[in-house]
Every structure is written in C-alpha cells, then in structure tokens.
C-alpha cells in the first residue's frame, strides 16, 4: 500500500518567507538608519549641517581633525580602555574562581553564599553611590594617579552576573578530569588554573565581552567620582563635551562615530562568542 503525502502548499510558504524577509529588511533599515545618519552628518561641513540633504555634498574630515586635535578625546579613549581592560581581567579571574568553587566543591553554606551573591543584583547602583562617594572622599583617592583610576574601577572588579555565568559553565565540566588531576597530586589552585579554566574558554570570552562593554559604557558612577578632567572616561568626557560644545553637531557626530566604530569592529570580530554567551545565560536563567 503506497501512501503519498499531499505535496505541501508551496506557494503559500514562499509567500510567507518573502513577507518575513520584507519585514526583517524594513526592520534592519530602521535599526541602522541612525548609524548612517551619524556617519553622514560627521562628514558634513558646518555650512552644510542644516540643509537636509541626506548625502554630504562636499564630504570633509575636518570634524574628525578637530575632535582629535582640539579636544581631549584621545585621553578619554585611553582612560576608558585602561579602566575597562583592568576591570575585565579582574572579573575574569575572580568570577571564574568563585563560579568554579560554587560548582565543584561541597562545603557548608554553599547555597547561602550563592544566593547572597545573586541577591546583590537587585540592589540598585543608585543606592550604593552615596556611601561609595563618602568612602572614596574619606580616603582621598580622587587626586592621585593610581587612586583615581582605582576609585572609578573598584565597584566592578567582581561581578555577581559573572559568578552566575561561570558557575553554569563549570557545572557542565565532568568531575573525572579534576579527580584525575587530584590523584596526580596537583594542588587545588593548579587544577583550577591549568585544568578547569582552559576548558571554559568560550565562557571566558563571552564574560570578557559583556564586562568590557558594561564598563566601556559605565556612566553614573564615573560621572560622580571623577573630579579632574584628565581622568574622564569616554562617556563622561563626551557627555560634558556636549554641554560645552553646545550645538556643534558636526563635532558631536564625529566624536560619536569615533566612539562607536571600534566597538562595532570588536563586535564583528567576536560576534559568535557574544551570542553564545547570551544563549547560555538566557537558556538556563
């Protein structure tokens, strides 16, 4: 007995797929439009700024030259790079150590410690900034070079979100590997550093990217704690520059483009890990 399945209604699926592409494309155009507008505006001369032509008639890099030579943009960029890099390295080390301990050891108070760390996610930053500010002022950290950078960085040196993420990853590591290393007489920190860590590279990559992005964008605390112009990070420097530059939209768009482009390049490079990171946190979350 031969039963032939009815052929699927091809035309309808084709139409649906075409419609899906159409909607997605319109959405992408709307999403990317502000970027295009930013880039095009940054290439317009001051005279051209307020005529509403989409393309600059006479593209110029003068706005970029001014941003790079007449503002502290490069210094802000350097400060942000330093702060975000050091914070990221610290988070990678401590969060994987805590995540590993919570996933692979049995000890009294384990679940309580995990819940306490997670509960800090619900404390709003706004609630902490006044005590932080008082503490930093009392210690007189904001004037000297290492102190000022430390004052900007310290709240983010270990992150509860990262502990949660790393614990997820370490849970899926088989215990046999660690036991084998133990039998070989390797000490506990060596097992973590040389056996466990290399096995969770993808997790470390996605945690690194999230942490870096978060600190690259950090605004509220740096705005409060930075007293002197030479310590301003990119978001704080550019925000205050907007106040100072008034309506110099050409300059503002050039500064925005300079701030956006490196991040987009990094994202294009690490796209896969970033998405994997979201997948792993979102799925078990």
């Amino acid at each position: 007995m031969t039963v032939t399945a009815a052929p699927p209604p091809r035309r309808r699926t084709d139409l649906r797929t075409a419609l899906a592409y159409l909607i997605l494309t319109v959405g992408v155009i709307l999403t990317l439009f502000p970027f295009a507008w930013m880039l095009l505006t940054s290439l317009k001369s001051f005279q051209e700024l307020f005529n509403l032509a989409f393309l600059p008639a006479d593209p110029t890099l003068d706005n970029y030259r001014q941003v790079l030579t007449e503002t502290r943009f490069l210094q802000w960029f350097g400060n942000s790079l330093l702060v975000a890099t050091v914070t990221t390295l610290s988070v990678l080390f401590f969060d994987s150590l805590v995540g590993y301990t919570l996933a692979k050891f049995d000890f009294p108070g384990k679940s309580l410690i995990f819940i306490l760390i997670l509960s800090t996610l619900m404390i709003p930053t706004e609630m902490l900034v006044v005590p932080w500010f008082v503490g930093v002022s009392d210690l007189g950290l904001t004037r000297s070079v290492p102190g000022a950078y430390f004052a900007i960085m310290f709240p983010g040196l270990i992150s509860a979100f990262g502990v949660f993420l790393m614990r997820q990853f370490f849970e899926s590591l088989p215990d046999d590997l660690l036991e084998a290393a133990r039998i070989d007489g390797m000490h506990e920190f060596g097992i973590f550093w040389r056996v466990a860590l290399p096995l969770v590279r993808p997790a470390l990559a996605s945690l690194a990217i999230f942490t870096f992005l978060g600190n690259w964008n950090a605004f509220l605390w740096p705005l409060i704690v930075i007293q002197q112009p030479q310590f301003r990070t990119l978001p704080v420097g550019t925000a205050l520059f907007n106040g100072e530059a008034g309506t110099q939209w050409g300059l503002i768009m050039a500064a925005s483009s300079l701030a956006v482009i490196p991040v987009l390049l990094v994202f294009a490079f690490f796209q896969r890990q970033i998405i994997e990171g979201i997948v792993l946190t979102g799925m078990k979350g």
């Binding site: 797929t17 997605l24 959405g27 990317l32 439009f33 502000p34 970027f35 507008w37 930013m38 307020f50 509403l52 401590f94 805590v98 301990t101 050891f105 049995d106 000890f107 009294p108 384990k110 679940s111 309580l112 995990f114 819940i115 760390i117 800090t120 996610l121 619900m122 709003p124 706004e126 609630m127 902490l128 900034v129 006044v130 005590p131 709240p155 270990i158 690259w216 964008n217 605004f219 978001p235 550019t238 925000a239 106040g243 503002i252 768009m253 500064a255 925005s256 483009s257 987009l264 990094v266 994202f267 796209q271 970033i274 998405i275 979201i278 997948v279 979102g282 799925m283 078990k284 979350g285």
Partner: protein, 314 residues
C-alpha cells in the same frame, strides 16, 4: 533567575562516604580560601554600603556640613509630599510599562521571523545587535539629532508624507515616548538573540507531533512555543524591568542642558536621586529615595517571579 541545578550545600545523601574525613576537610578549607577575597569584596562594596544607605536615610545628611542631625523618618515623610518625586515615580512606571512589553514583543516577533528564513540569518542577527554594543552616550546624541524638530530626518520624512512636523523631545507629551524608543532600539538586538536561543531549545519533536495531530500554526504557537518559552520570557521581563526602573544614562544625555526634559517630563527616579545627592548634596534625603527604589525593585521582582514562572510538564 532561579537555577535548576542542585542548590543544596552539604553532601548529597546519595553519595557514599568514599572520601576520608581529612580529604573532605581539605576540600572545605580550599573552598573557603578561594571564596575569601570575593566574599570580602561583596561585603565591603555591596552589603555594607546598602546598610549605610539605610542609615543615612534617617539623617539630614549633607557632605558639605559639619553637623549631620538625626531626623528619624522625616525624610520619608517629606517624600510623600514631594511632587517631583511623584512625577519621577510616575515617569519611571511609564517607561517600564511602555518599554518592557514593546521590547519583549518586538524581540520575540523578530526572532520568530528569523526562524522562518535560512539565508542571511546570521547577518540580520548581527545587524539588529549593532545598537546594543553602541556607547549609550553617542546613541543618545544621534537620537537627539535624528528627532530634532527642525533639522531631523524623521520630520523630513513626515513632511514627504504631508504629515505635520512633530516636536518630539521638546514637548512634555512626546519626550518620554521618544526616550523610551531609544532604550527599546538599544535593547532590541539583545532581546532578539535571547529569544532565538529560547526558540532553538524547543525540541522539534513537539512541532512534528502537533503537525500530525493537524494543529494549525497558531495553535502550535499557543500550546507549544509560548509555554516552553516561558523561562526565557520571565528572564527577559525580570531583567528588563530591573533595568528600566534604574533608567538614567539615556535620559541625562538626551537633555544634558535641561536634565529631566521639558517640565520634568522625562525625569526618572534614578536621575532625581542623582540631582538630590550630587546637585544639592541632600544625601540623607537622596538615600531615602534610594531605599524606596530598592523596595520597589525587590517587590516587583519577587511578584514577577511568583506570577510569571509556570511549571510545564512536557
């Protein structure tokens, strides 16, 4: 945010005591050694400052003065009559009520559409994600320029369609929705990826079974997709709500010269706290506002976890 894995500390009863006592003691010692610095960090940087804020809220505390008088619950009483706080609270609620549902619906919608297409899926996903990695300050400026009443391209388009130009960020009525749109635009890519992950985790078998039973697409969506996507939706709603309740950076940078927008129409609780503590140095009063914000976040998060989380037995 609940975890599914074993949360119980101590020894699982199932395991035979294979290890000797001394080895187990060594393991416990190692664990505490590893946790020592991080736990001190959370204590000093998160828990103690939280308690300090609670304490500060009972004082008329001003960093510029010598005297910091104790006032008990006076700050909280002032709060009840503070019109600006009321406005900030209403605005924050509005942001959350507009922003969270819109970004969840759009994120899920785009993820479902991406599920229908094969070619270029990765490219689309990456392009939707671009605003999420854009520095917030820069994005806020671009938004200001795009929605500028006289020179913005949005009003140019409206003109082409013979529609009247809109004031957007310059009018008390439109400033808040325009700001919310910026936040949604920035978060959308993250939501799309989150829902793509959630959809990918649903076993195909269910859909095949539904097809055999002759279920329509809409029925399959209601009976399979939505229930199995529940954890992802809860994650998105809860983390989204916590973020919207603390909205600050976008609001400040859309109106740096006139913080809080026209007639305070975009003012949020977080921005009000900032102005009280670091504009007027009323740190005791600001701390009282932070305590209220914390309680709101705590209450809403617990309620959402309680009512949104469903147990589905597959």
């Amino acid at each position: 945010m609940a975890t599914t894995s074993k949360l119980r500390g101590g020894r699982p009863a199932a395991r035979a005591p294979a290890r000797t006592g001394s080895l187990r003691r060594h393991q416990i010692r190692t664990a505490y050694t590893f946790l020592l610095v991080p736990l001190l960090f959370f204590l000093v940087v998160r828990f103690i400052p939280t308690l300090m804020s609670l304490r500060l809220s009972l004082f008329d505390w001003n960093i510029l003065r010598e005297q910091q008088p104790f006032v008990g619950l006076e700050n909280y009483r002032t709060l009840l009559e503070d019109g600006r706080f009321g406005q900030a609270l209403r605005n924050t609620a509005l942001y959350t009520l507009i922003g969270v549902p819109v970004q969840v619906a759009l994120g899920l919608g785009i993820a479902l559409l991406l599920g229908r297409v094969r070619a270029l899926r990765g490219l689309y996903r990456a392009l939707y994600f671009a605003p999420y990695v854009t520095p917030i300050v820069a994005a806020a400026w671009v938004w200001q320029w795009v929605f500028s009443p006289q020179f913005g391209p949005v009003n140019t388009f409206l003109g082409w369609l013979h529609l009247p130009a809109q004031p957007f960020l310059t009018s008390p009525g439109q400033a808040l929705p325009t700001t919310a749109a910026l936040v949604v635009w920035q978060n959308l890519g993250f939501q799309v990826v989150l829902f793509l992950a959630g959809l990918a985790a649903i076993p195909r078998v269910y859909y095949e079974a539904a097809e055999i039973d002759g279920a329509s697409g809409a029925q399959a969506f209601r009976k399979i997709t939505l229930p199995l996507l529940n954890p992802t939706i809860v994650f998105s709603v809860v983390t989204g709500t916590i973020a919207y309740l603390q909205l600050f950076t976008q609001v400040v940078n859309l109106n740096f010269t006139d913080q809080g927008g026209p007639l305070g129409s975009t003012m949020t609780v977080a921005l009000y706290i900032y102005q009280l503590a670091f504009g007027r140095y009323q740190m005791g009063y600001a701390s009282a506002v932070t305590v209220v914000l914390f309680l709101i976040i705590l209450l809403i998060t617990l309620l959402q976890l309680r009512f949104l989380t469903r147990r589905y037995d597959a």
